[in-house]
Every structure is written in C-alpha cells, then in structure tokens.
Symmetry: C2
C-alpha cells in the first residue's frame, strides 16, 4: 500500500453515515449554496418524493445539520430549510475525507499491481 493509504481507509470507514447517504448529501450540497431552500425546490433539485424528503429532513434536523422553519405563504404552509453551521462543518469534514480517499486511488484503470 502507498504511504497514507491506511489513513484514507480509516477515513472511509469513519465516514458520517448521516452525510454519506446520497439523498442527504444532495440535500446538504444544495443547501450549502443558498441561504435557504423551500421544500418544493429541494424535492425537484434532489429528485426525491415528498415522503422521502420529509424523512431525510427530519433526520438532518434531529442531528442539528439543518434548521427547518415552517411559515405561511399567504394561506398555505411553507417549509424553509437552511443548513446550520454544524451542517457546514459536517459537510466540510466529509468532503475532506473523500479528498483523502480520492488521492489514494490510481487515476488510470490500469494494472499497477
């Protein structure tokens, strides 16, 4: 193994499963680029059904990675979601472990035994 490889492996094994799940990773990524997002926007941007989105948001909220604000737009309920500071930190940490991993993988799909 290359030097540093074990550290990258350990990083992979220690990945935060909450962030690692693709649906939640998509949500956090979208949220990291805006001040907030509406439920309906996330639904489209992340290609999730309402039910699925709802349950993922609940988990992210329970972990403190997003903040959910329910308000009324006229007479209709509207849910706004924003990433928290903890959420940004979690995403950054996740990103860094992925970077470490990616650096370990050979670029070409060739036998380098």
């Amino acid at each position: 193994m290359k030097p540093g490889a074990q550290a990258a492996i350990d990083g992979v094994l220690g990945l935060d499963r909450l962030v690692h799940e693709p649906a939640r990773l998509a949500i956090l990524t979208v949220l990291s680029q805006a001040e907030f997002a509406e439920f309906g926007f996330l639904e489209m941007a992340c290609r999730l059904t309402k039910g699925n989105l709802s349950s993922h948001l609940s988990k992210l909220e329970a972990a403190g990675l997003v903040a959910i604000e329910k308000r009324f737009q006229g007479k209709r309920p509207q849910t706004r979601v924003a990433i928290t500071d903890a959420g940004r930190e979690a995403l950054t940490a996740y990103r860094e472990q992925l970077s470490a991993l990616i650096r370990q993988v050979p670029k070409k799909a060739a036998r380098d035994g």
Copy 2:
C-alpha cells in the same frame, strides 16, 4: 445554484450503492493498489470482522468487481482477492462523481448565501 451543480447532484443520486458502502469502498481501494490481497490482510486493513468481510466480498464477486481465488497455503486454505477490470472501472467512475461533487461544495464553512 452554481452552474453544473444540478449535474453534480444527479451524479450523487446516481452513485453506485455497491461501491458507495464504506466497507466495500475500503476493500476496493486496498485492492486497487495491489495485484491481490489475502483475506486476513483485508480483514486487518479494512477493520472488518470475518463475517462482514466475507459477505461484502461475496457481493463484490457477484457483481464482477473482484475475483476470488481459493487455494492452499501448505495445508491451510487461503483466499486471495483481486480487483477485476470492471472493478477498476467502477471505482474510477465513482471517484469521478465524487470529484464533481467536491468541486461544488464551498471550501470554507462560511455563509456564502
């Protein structure tokens, strides 16, 4: 959203779950750096129990991402695992989607609206 963000999100949502699982990602990463690895080595390097490792290897083999060779080392059975070309390709494809994702995430954990 930044330009290209939706493509990165789509990439995340389309991630190969087989490769995305941390344990298997660790296995493939180790294997990508050697011609083959023994069961016992993977067990240590990937910090997996035998049972867990065994089942992950079976899934990777069923998908054609690794090749498993059973032989005898003296009188003892020994299992050798190697990544296949398909495995390398899957890992490369996975890596590229992660790269696209990482480029979308702001570097600093600061409010950038």
